[in-house]
Amino acid sequence: MNVKTLISSAVIFSVLTVSSVTAVQAASDDSVTVYSSRKEHLIKPLFEAFTKDTGIKVDYLTGKGGALIERLKLEGDNTQADMFMTVDAGNLWYTGSQGLFQSVQTETLKSNIPAHLRDPNGLWTGLSVRARTIVYSTERVDPADLSTYADLSTDKWKGKLCLRTSKKIYTKSLAASVIYNHGEDKAGDIISGWVDNLAATPNAKDSHVMNAILAGQCDVGLVNTYYYGRLIAKNPNAPLKLFWANQDTTGVHVNVSGAGVTKHASNAAGATKLLEYLSSAKAQAIYGSLNKEYPANQNVASDDVVSAWGSFKQDKMNLSQAGILQADAVKLMQLKGYR
Amino acid sequence: MLAVNDLSLTYQNNEVLDGFNLELDQGDIFALLGDSGSGKSSALRFIAGLDNANQGRVELDGHQLSTDGKHQVTPESREVGMVFQDYALFPHMTVEKNITFGISDQSKSEQQARVKELLSLIGLKGIEKKYPHQLSGGEQQRVALARALAPSPKLLLLDEPFSSLDKKHRDQLVDQVRSILKKAQVTSILVTHDEDEANVLADKVGTIQDKRLTIK
C-alpha cells in the first residue's frame, strides 16, 4: 500500500467512525429526539418508561452541555433535536436567551412544577432539584453556631471554611442568588468574607471539600446534597452532617436539571408530551432514586435516603435569575479574589 | 620514561596482545605499525586509561598509572594527550576555546599566550575565532594536535591521525608534525598502518607480531 492510499483510507475511516458515533439514529416521524448533557445512565430509564407508556420512541445524543448548545446554534432549523436537556439553571437560561427554546406553558407543567423552578416565559422547566447547603464536622462544630451562607463570612469562621472553586457552575449560581438576595454591595462583602475565612485554596470538587473537613483542614463547607449522599453511602460513619442554611430567612439555595422544547423542533407536540411526562409523579420518583436529587414535583416524596436528611425551605428566587445574574456573579468573585 | 609491561588484551573476543612490552625515553617518537584488528589502537587506549586490559602495567615518569590491566590513575589526571583519528574537536567551540579547554585553570593572559605560541608552532595564525567546520581536514588535524599539546602532556598519543587526509597533504603534514613534536620535545606514540608514514615520522618503529612487539 502506498502512502497516498494509506492517507486517504485513514481519513475516510476516521470521518466515518466519528460521524457514526455522533450521529443520531435516523428518526422516525413520531419519535422524539433529545440532546442531553445528562449522562446516559441517568436518562435512559426515564425514556424507556415513556416509550413503554406512550409508544413514542425517544432517540437521544449525550455530550458536553456547552458543545451541545453550540451545536444547536450551528444546526439552526436543520436540527434534529426536539428537546434539549441539561443541568444548571444558568445553562438553561442561556439556551433560552439564545433563542433555542420555544415557549411551552401547559396546565400540566404549571400544576406539577412550582413557578420558581420554571422559566417565567415557559422556555424551560426544572425537572429535578439539587440543594446547595452547609456541611459541617460533627466533631468540631456546634450546629447551633450555624445559620446562613452570609454568616460563613463572619470572623468566627476564620480559617475554618472550605469552598469549591468559583469556576464551577454551582458556585456561580449560588453567588448569583447571594447577589439577588442581598444586592451587589453586600454580596461583595459576603464573598470577600468567605475568601478571608478560607482554610485552603478552593477545591476542585465538592468531594474534596468534604475530605478536607474530614481530615481536619477546615470545619465547614458548602456542597450539593447528592455529593454528601455519595460520601455517606461509602462511609456511613463519617462525622459529617448537612445543615439547612437560611431557614429563618430566604431558604436553601436550590438549582435544577431541566429541559425545554427546541425552537426548531420538528416534533414539538411529542417533545411537550415527553416534558409533561418527565414532570409527572411516576417519572419524578425515578429521577429522585437515580441520583439522590429532590423531585421538582412537590407532590412526590423524596427518596428514602434523601428524606433522612430532613426537610427544608427552598429559596423561592426564580431560577432564571441564576442565569441573568451569572456574569455579574463571576465578575464579583473574580474581583474579590475567589478563585 | 614510559614503560608498558606484560600487556595482554582481547579485541572483539580475540586475544590480540599477550606479553606486549614497550619502553620509551624522554622525547622519543615511536610508531606502532600493524594491520587493522592487530590491537595497536587498543594498546593506545589502554595507555591512555580509556579501556581496561586483561593484564598489564603502565609506568610514566616514575608514576604507576596502571597495574593488572586496571587503572590507578584516571584519564583525567594522567597528563597524557591524544589526537583522535577523526580529531574529535569540539564543534561548538572556536579554535581558541578548543585549545584552551585543557588549560582553563590558567589565567586568561597565560591562555592567550599559549594559544598564540601553539598556533605559530602548527603554522596556522589568525584562525582563533574560526569554528572547526570552517577548517580543512589538515587544519583540523593540526588544531587537534595543538589542543592535545596545550596542557604540556608527558606523553602524546596519536591514533591514525593522517588516515582521513589525501595522499598529497599527508606527506606534507607528516614532515610538519614531526618537526612540531620535536620542537615540543614531547614523548609520542603514533599508531598507523602506513609504513612510510611511520618511517618518516618516528625515531623508532615497532610492529605487532605474534601478539608481541618487535622493534626494528
Partner: protein, 427 residues
C-alpha cells in the same frame, strides 16, 4: 485558520469586558503564568537532561531497564497524575495524614503557592526533554568525551562544556513542547485551582459568553507561542552534530556507592512519576469496581478509544503529508511555513482551537455544513489532535532525517544532501 480568525478578533473589541479582564485579571494571570512557565521550564530542562545524560553516558546498576522505564510517564495524562498527587499529598491525602499523625508535623495546603503544581508539571513533562536529549546524547561522538577527559575535565565539566551545549538544540525542542503543553493545560491547573491564561480564555468564553474577548486573549497566547518558537529556533542555532558511530560503551562507569546513588535517584524519579501513580490508580480502580462499575464505564472507554484512534489516524495522515515534502524540498518557503503553522497548532490550547474554529464557522454558517459541524465540534474540541500532530511530526522528521543520513551515500540527490549535511554536520 484558527490563528487567522483569532487575530481578526482584535477588530471587534468589547470594551467593557476587555477592561475588566485587562485591569482586574491580566496582571495576576500574566505573572502566575510566567512563574509557572519559568519554574516548569527550569525543572524539565534540568531533570530531563540530567536523566538522559546519566542513562546514556554512565553505567550504573539497573541502567538498562531504567533507560526505557523513564519513557513510561508519557502514558499518563497530566491531569490524571495531578489527581493522584492531590489524592496522596494534599491535606486529606494519606501521605500528609501520616506525616501529621506519625511525625507530628503541621499540615499544609499543597495547592497554595506554585511549587507543587510546578513539580507536578515537571514530573509529567520531563519525558519530552528526556526523549529529545537522550537521542542527542546517543549521537554524540564518544571520542569527544574521551578527548575532554584526557584534557583533564571532570565529568561535571564534560557535561556542562561538551555534552550539554551539544544537546542544547534537542533540549530546546523538548522544552518548547513542554511549555506549550503547560500553556495549553486546563486539567492540572483546574485541579490545583491555579489561574493561568487558559483559565481566563475559558472564563471569557464560558462565563461571559464572549467569543470575541476569548479570541483576543487567545491571540495574546498565540503571541507567546510565536515568541517561544522563535527562541527555540535561536537556541537551535545553525549546526546539528550527528555522528554515526553509535557505541554501546559508556564513557563513565559508576561503581560502588556513587553507582547506587545514581540508581536510587533515577529509580526515585520513575517511582514518583509512574510507578506510584499507577499503583494508586489501580488501587482506586479496585476499590470502585465493587461499588460503581457499570455499563457507563464501558461506554466511556469505547467512545474515548474511538475518538483517540480516529484523531490519531487523521493526524498521522496530515503529519505524513506535511512532513514528507518538508524534508524533500528544502527551498519551498510556503511549505515550510505551512508546517510551521501546523506545528504551531500545538501551541494552541484546545480553547483557542475551539474558539477559532467555531468563530470561523459562525461566520460562514450559510453553507450547509452538517457533517463538518459534527466532526469539528466533537473532534476539534479535543486537543488530542494537536498533540498527535506534533508527536507524529517530530517522529516523522526524526525518522526521515535518519533515513536520509543513511541513504545519503547511495542517493541520487547526493549534491543536495551533501549541501544539507554540510550545513548541519561538522564532519
Amino acid at each position: 485558520m484558527p490563528i487567522f480568525v483569532v487575530a481578526l478578533s482584535w477588530l471587534l473589541p468589547e470594551h467593557e469586558l476587555w477592561a475588566h479582564f485587562s485591569e482586574n485579571l491580566l496582571p495576576s494571570l500574566v505573572s502566575s503564568t510566567a512563574v509557572l512557565l519559568v519554574g516548569v521550564g527550569i525543572g524539565v530542562t534540568l531533570l530531563g537532561t540530567i536523566l538522559a545524560y546519566l542513562v546514556v553516558m554512565v553505567e550504573f546498576p539497573g541502567r538498562k531497564w531504567l533507560e526505557w522505564a523513564l519513557f513510561l510517564p508519557f502514558a499518563i495524562p497530566a491531569y490524571v497524575l495531578a489527581f493522584v498527587y492531590l489524592g496522596v499529598f494534599d491535606y486529606s491525602g494519606y501521605a500528609q495524614v501520616w506525616m501529621r499523625e506519625v511525625l507530628g508535623l503541621p499540615g499544609f495546603d499543597i495547592r497554595s503557592g506554585s511549587w507543587a503544581i510546578i513539580l507536578t508539571f515537571v514530573l509529567v513533562f520531563y519525558p519530552y526533554v528526556y526523549m529529545m536529549t537522550r537521542a542527542s546524547f546517543k549521537r554524540q561522538k564518544i571520542n569527544m568525551i574521551e578527548a575532554g577527559k584526557l584534557l583533564g575535565a571532570s565529568p561535571i565539566k564534560v557535561f556542562f562544556k561538551i555534552s550539554l551545549p551539544l544537546a542544547r538544540p534537542a533540549a530546546a525542542a523538548g522544552l518548547l513542547v513542554t511549555l506549550m503543553e503547560t500553556l495549553a493545560d486546563f486539567g492540572v491547573v483546574g485541579l490545583f485551582n491555579y489561574d493561568t491564561f487558559t483559565t481566563a480564555i475559558y472564563s471569557a468564553w464560558g462565563d461571559y459568553r464572549s467569543v470575541e474577548v476569548a479570541a483576543q486573549l487567545a491571540s495574546l497566547l498565540v503571541l507567546v507561542a510565536f515568541f517561544l518558537i522563535y527562541f527555540e529556533k535561536k537556541a537551535r542555532g545553525q549546526a546539528k552534530y550527528y555522528s554515526a558511530d553509535v557505541s554501546n560503551k559508556k564513557p563513565y562507569q559508576a561503581s560502588g556507592v556513587v553507582g547506587w546513588l545514581i540508581s536510587l535517584f533515577v529509580l526515585g524519579v520513575f517511582m514518583l512519576s509512574f510507578a506510584m501513580p499507577m499503583l494508586q490508580l489501580v488501587a482506586w480502580g479496585w476499590e470502585s469496581v465493587g461499588e460503581e462499575w457499570s455499563a457507563k464505564y464501558f461506554d466511556l472507554i469505547s467512545s474515548t478509544s474511538v475518538l483517540t484512534v480516529s484523531a490519531a489516524l487523521i493526524t498521522v495522515a496530515i503529519a505524513t503529508v506535511l512532513a514528507l515534502p518538508g524534508r524533500c524540498k528544502q527551498n519551498s518557503i510556503w511549505l515550510s511555513s505551512v508546517i510551521r503553522m501546523a506545528t504551531l497548532g500545538y501551541a494552541l490550547p484546545g480553547s483557542v482551537m475551539a474558539v477559532g474554529l467555531l468563530y470561523g464557522i459562525n461566520q460562514i454558517s450559510e453553507i450547509n455544513i452538517h457533517l463538518v459541524v459534527r466532526v469539528l465540534t466533537i473532534l476539534f474540541l479535543d486537543r488530542l489532535l494537536c498533540y498527535y500532530l506534533l508527536m507524529c511530526l517530530v517522529l516523522w522528521q526524526l525518522l526521515i532525517a535518519q533515513l536520509m543520513h543513511r541513504l545519503s551515500k547511495l542517493s541520487r540527490c547526493i549534491p543536495k544532501v551533501r549541501v544539507y549535511w554540510a550545513h548541519h554536520d561538522y564532519v
